[in-house]
């Protein structure tokens, strides 16, 4: 009886080990293709009866901590911080709150980056390869806690002195007046 229990526990632990797959690091990106993403709905106004479908995101970028941390690095290197700061906003809108002007789906964020938006957001089509845009999308979405917890939104090199954004409960953004800030 005891032996059977031991064997059963051994089997259970072995099963646990099977699920320990190491996350794949996508090193060799497919060469970029210039796909036009013109099917994104930018405003609530829609001609005709059917709303346009939201394109599916390549999920590998949103499930890979490596891709998200690459996005974090590119966010700095491509000077997104110049307007959006580190998510808190400044010249541009903040990215870590729940207020999304042009949509929260990955496809929406992708279109915002590649097409640009009025009042200052430049278009980065042909400037940033598509896979890097998807990495940026994954990072931007992680800022407001849209990604699974296992994919940490920030993996800084210095020591963590505060819990990451995702492991704390969601809080409504507050401006100086204590009210959510309005943009546009």
């Amino acid at each position: 009886m005891r032996r059977r229990l031991q064997l059963g526990m051994l089997f259970a632990f072995a099963t646990l080990l099977v699920s320990c797959a190491r996350e794949d690091r996508i090193l060799r990106q497919p060469p970029p293709a210039n796909q036009a993403l013109n099917t994104i709905q930018v405003s609530g106004l829609n001609p005709g009866a059917n709303a346009l479908p939201i394109p599916q995101t390549p999920s590998m970028y949103e499930e890979s901590a490596h891709a998200v941390s690459e996005g974090q690095k590119l966010f700095d290197q491509y000077n997104c911080t110049g307007c959006h700061a580190h998510g808190g906003g400044g010249i541009g809108p903040p990215l870590m709150d729940s207020n999304w002007i042009y949509g929260i789906e990955p496809g929406n964020v992708f279109a915002t980056i590649t097409q640009g938006r009025p009042n200052g957001m430049p278009a980065f089509r042909n400037r940033i390869p598509d896979y890097q845009v998807w990495e940026l999308v994954a990072y931007v979405r992680s800022l407001s806690g849209q990604l699974p917890r296992g994919v940490s939104p920030e993996r800084p090199d210095h020591m963590n002195y505060k819990p990451s954004e995702q492991s704390t409960p969601k809080q409504p953004p507050t401006g100086i007046t204590g009210q959510p800030e309005q943009h546009q």
């Binding site: 090193l27 060799r28 060469p31 970029p32 210039n34 290197q77 042909n126 940033i128 390869p129 090199d157």
Partner: protein, 333 residues
């Protein structure tokens, strides 16, 4: 520069001057002297050990088996004590001498004697070296990558830092290894006496492409060095023909300008190496490829095949655009 020489330098079996036994610098000579000293001490110890083992092995076993039971042998004991005692004493003294000489060599290598050094700032990146010749006047500051030009017989003070992980600056023919720590500025110096090109290499494992993180130190007579510096201070040359100006347009409308600087144009990002004088460099991608049209084209199209994991993304360019871009980049002397 002949292409044959460039290819020879790019071949992995001929790494150029990358040996501590052929120093071209005073510090390298000190290190080489210590190396040979320790080598000869160890050689003598090795020979003595082999002789002792051979003698012990050659002695007849009968000598040991005969005198049973064990008898007190006072003279033998005294001899054994002497032998062990003197062996310990010689070992301690030899190690102490080596220690003292190491400290003296270290002091000779570390001590800066001149008051008028050339200052260079070296920033380690995954996986290339950013080289800056700082000057209080911003427009007199030279920024280049992977190729460190220095004047001969002049001390060079190197300020080190790293932007990501720990790297280590090591040019074996010149001086010892120095770590580049992220966010921590430190300094060392070196001096090269013989003109020439000395290869160096990152000596601290720093990620996937650690092995492809080379650099070269190019030591030149002072007037040549100054001429080089004056040339590097200039902004990029204006395109001289239609193809080159088309190449510049390609550079400024594709992903290139997101990371690279060409002074004199709109491209001013600091994420990748400064390309203002890319045409004057011998090698590409941190001593990975010779700087030729073909290698440059391969690198631009698919850097992930040559250095998987490097920051540079693959680019798809139309053949005409690519040719024009390469013509423009090669014209940036």
């Amino acid at each position: 520069m002949n292409p044959g020489g460039l290819l020879a330098q790019a071949a992995p079996l001929d790494p150029g001057r990358h040996l501590i036994l052929h120093p071209g610098a005073p510090q390298g000579s000190h290190i080489e002297w210590l190396y040979w000293l320790i080598f000869w001490i160890l050689a003598v110890v090795y020979v003595l050990m082999i002789v002792a083992f051979t003698r012990a092995g050659a002695r007849s076993r009968a000598d040991f088996i005969q005198p049973l039971p064990v008898m007190k042998n006072e003279e033998g004991d005294r001899k054994a004590r002497w032998a062990v005692g003197s062996a310990v004493a010689i070992t301690v003294i030899t190690l102490f001498v080596v220690l003292v000489l190491s400290v003296i060599t270290g002091k000779q290598v570390a001590g800066l004697t001149s008051k008028n050094p050339v200052t260079i700032q070296i920033m380690g990146h995954q996986w290339w070296w950013e080289v800056t010749y700082p000057n209080p006047q911003a427009d007199q500051t030279v920024i280049t990558a992977n190729e460190i030009h220095v004047p001969v017989c002049t001390p060079v003070v190197v300020l080190t830092n790293s932007s990501d992980v720990i790297h280590s600056f090591w040019a074996p023919s010149i001086t010892g290894k120095r770590d580049l720590l992220p966010g921590y500025s430190s300094a060392f110096w070196f001096q090269v006496d013989q003109p020439g090109t000395y290869r160096g290499q990152c000596a601290e494992f720093c990620g996937l492409q650690h092995a492809h993180m080379g650099f070269s130190v190019i030591a030149e007579p002072v007037d040549q060095f100054q001429a080089w510096q004056q040339q590097q201070l200039k902004t990029a040359a204006e395109p001289s023909d239609d193809e080159a100006s088309r190449g510049r347009a390609v550079f400024l409308t594709h992903a290139c300008l997101m990371c690279h600087t060409i002074r004199g144009t709109d491209a001013g990002s600091r994420a990748g190496p400064d390309l203002t004088h890319i045409g004057s460099r011998r090698m590409l991608a941190a001593e990975t490829l010779p700087n030729t049209r073909g290698a440059l084209a391969g690198w631009i199209l698919d850097p992930q095949r040559i250095k998987p994991g490097a920051e540079m993304p693959p680019n798809s360019l139309a053949p005409d655009d690519l040719q024009a871009l390469i013509t423009y980049l090669m014209s940036l002397q």
